[in-house]
Symmetry: C2
Subunit: 257 residues, 2 copies
């Protein structure tokens, strides 16, 4: 299995604090040692840093912990290999282009025996069930909406259907974004917290680190952090319900049902 970390905010924010706790799970406080990756959207572009080394010893992860990259849409992943060898092509987040936008995807779970067929546009490069599922999602989206990105309601509805079908084949928690919308699907385990004014101090579970957000924010800032399990021990995280698909915009979750 793996762990997911995501962030969506109304103003570009760095993820150094959350990533510090999260990265500790890649070999220190937990055993997700088989690679890691993080993608930051900046407008329609993204940068991605990844490594097939454990996040606790990776010099590239060290850069992410120390160098504040500001972004409104971030997806990160630490890997404990279930399917697919330990290799760069199997490190999440995966990324493809659809409708002239980059899409970034990371998965926590396992889809045993999942072998999609009849893929028309997207093909996996590595050999994980996760990348295959991502390709299937994009293939379906493209088949239904060949001419461009549909309305959020239409997109949500189709993505919800595809996610249910895939989740019926195993465990399928995922984060997906194109830098405009941020989707979080819970199949078994995924939590989030929305931080907004009045801001307070937060203390990591995995490292003895506290940050007082009231010193770093303006009153209009709003930041949602999404993670497989809560990252802090003095805040109240909301568990997303199994089977639920949320879409975050400007740091707030929505669903369309």
């Amino acid at each position: 299995m793996c762990q997911l970390l995501g962030m969506n905010c109304n103003t570009p924010t760095d993820i150094c604090f959350s990533f510090e706790g999260f990265a500790a799970r890649g070999g220190k406080t937990d055993d997700h040692r088989d690679g890691w990756g993080i993608a930051f959207f900046e407008g329609k572009g993204y940068r991605i840093l990844l490594d097939d080394k454990p996040s606790v010893i990776s010099p590239i992860a060290e850069l992410v912990r120390r160098y504040p990259i500001h972004s409104t849409h971030v997806i990160a992943h630490i890997r404990k290999a279930t399917q697919g060898k330990i290799a760069l092509e199997n490190c999440h987040p995966f990324r493809r282009e659809l409708w002239g936008r980059y899409w970034v995807f990371a998965h926590n779970g396992d889809l045993p025996g999942f072998q999609p067929e009849g893929m028309k546009f997207y093909q996996a490069v590595g050999n994980t069930d996760s990348e295959k599922a991502f390709c299937l999602i994009l293939d379906e989206l493209r088949k239904y909406f060949p001419y461009g990105k549909p309305s959020l309601e239409q997109l949500y509805s189709l993505l919800n259907d595809i996610s249910k079908t895939l989740a019926s084949q195993g465990i399928f928690n995922y984060l997906l974004s194109d830098g405009e919308h941020f989707f979080a699907h819970c199949s078994t385990k995924l939590s989030y917290i929305v931080r907004q004014a009045p801001f307070a101090a937060a203390h990591l579970i995995d490292e003895d680190v506290t940050v007082d957000f009231s010193e770093l924010t303006t009153p209009s800032d709003r930041v949602a952090v999404i993670a497989t399990t809560p990252l802090t021990d003095n805040e109240i995280w909301t568990q997303i319900q199994p089977g639920e698909l949320l879409v975050f915009q400007d740091g707030l979750p929505h669903k369309f049902v």
Copy 2:
């Protein structure tokens, strides 16, 4: 305009030395200040580091200069914007998936008025002529070979035709790789050097740095470095002829005509 740097070798090699001289051109010895990027293949996977800040001050470029990432196929680019704003989505190298492999592309030149139409599979995310040209190349490759990567001879022949057509519309020097093959097309200016035993010392043009490769290599190593203009002042670089497409394998250039 921009500058290109590529490397292809028969054994994974770091590019720290060449990148040090190259990155200096991004604001110190030359004025390519509008972003930079570098992609390293590791097997079928790749990592990419990029920034819309000048390479001489980017902390991520500093990581590339200091942290030896070993790869057999590397493509790097420093940008001086001609078309498209300074933004992450306009930073080369661009990347897409085709035939279950990642393809990475960087361009030096300018294709004024280039507006490809009838693109079926790939769409530009940013607004550079370079990314549009890359999408057109992949679109054509995919149209002609829908079922998978053809033989190198077939691929070379089609790519040669597409490159000639595009080069007729402006300046079209480029580097393109899928981690298996490494293509270098010269429209106006592109040079390479093949380093192999007996190895000697090399001295950068852009920084006063010398490396003695005989201390760092084994006799069977072979490394080709490709660049817009030579990076060293005590070695003999070969200029690729305008209109010529080379494919590098294991550090050696080939062409099929």
